[in-house]
Symmetry: C2
Subunit: 203 residues, 2 copies
Amino acid sequence: MIVLDDEGFDAVTMRRIAQELETGPASLYAHVSNKEELAELMLDAVLADVLVPEPDPARWDEQVKDLVRDQIQVMAAHRGIARIAWDIAVPVTPNSLKQGEGMLALLRAGGLTLKQATFAGDALSLYAKAYAYEASGWTWGEIDQAEAGERGKQMVAYMRSLPAESFPNLLQVGEFFSAETAKERLEFALEAYLAGLKVLAKN
Amino acid sequence: MIVLDDEGFDAVTMRRIAQELETGPASLYAHVSNKEELAELMLDAVLADVLVPEPDPARWDEQVKDLVRDQIQVMAAHRGIARIAWDIAVPVTPNSLKQGEGMLALLRAGGLTLKQATFAGDALSLYAKAYAYEASGWTWGEIDQAEAGERGKQMVAYMRSLPAESFPNLLQVGEFFSAETAKERLEFALEAYLAGLKVLAKN
DNA sequence: TCTACTCTCGAACGGCGTTCGCGTCAAGTA
DNA sequence: TACTTGACGCGAACGCCGTTCGAGAGTAGA
């Protein structure tokens, strides 16, 4: 009932889910108290697909990167899930907790104090949600692939046309913002942040 | 007309704005083509309050931190603005561009290549949006301050009650997630990320 | 003054999340 | 078996939302 609902729809609505179940929207309220609760259940179901590794101090940094990448991948793979993740203030569902604990364990294996690990885990999950949400935009957006490419080119052209005296840097960076560099941007962010964590861990 | 609209409302709706202007919702469409455009105008107006510094290579890192802090502060100060920032795929309004250019200039002053600066700027603005959105939650949420504190305490208690064998780390970190540590979390993220950038800049 | 044109905005459309209580039906009792 | 009763599924409706349309008001030119 829960897992399949978010696969195919533009926006998950109570009416559409009810339709899927061949019933009226009112019937859903027999199982969940509101849409937010249903959203939490969906997010939790999706997070079950991300398995948390056993910390290995020798390669904890790669493990952290993998975990973030997996979380992003799984959120981006299901339409609307990333958005849901933002609307949930404090995640207390079983799989959310498991992810949180797993991330903490990895960061502690990297030599961070408990407080540092907590703050780092918070920042990383914030970034994962942010990136996944943005990624959902291009993956599931209303515009198709060809049109998206066209848009990208127009964007680059537009940036190049900016007045050089006001935007000396910006007009050169258009090419770095295509969909192809998305992965690269993620890798850069992970590398930079983890490099920073290693610096802070030594103090 | 534009600037004041987002100050007082839980959610900015076309009807409420029209009401504020003592007219019907249809009249707004004479000035903007849809809600998204109106949202862009509001975000741009708000960003005008963030002034972009002249890059100083001696203290570029502090300047970057200041810029991110200012962006967050200004977004968190206006209800609903942070959410709007997420829904805008590519910001092309004048002040958004100015912020982007300013950030690039600072990062380049720190010795990053153009590509590195682009990716770093992207990650930083992603984080700024993410943090500001989260911050909007506590600042403008439907629950009042006293109740929020109560909630926090319950949260800590709940985390302490988790089974120790499954969540050895998580059950100790409840205290680090209170509203008081929010600023500290931001500072940690900034410090870690900038430390990482300095490492990468040397290669 | 009359015409022609522009612009405003009341009313309505289709969709949303959620609520209410009627009607059905199964379990319990005689 | 026949009746009563209780729970509960869900059709219909409520009050929102963003957006559209065209009647009518307002204005400028002849």
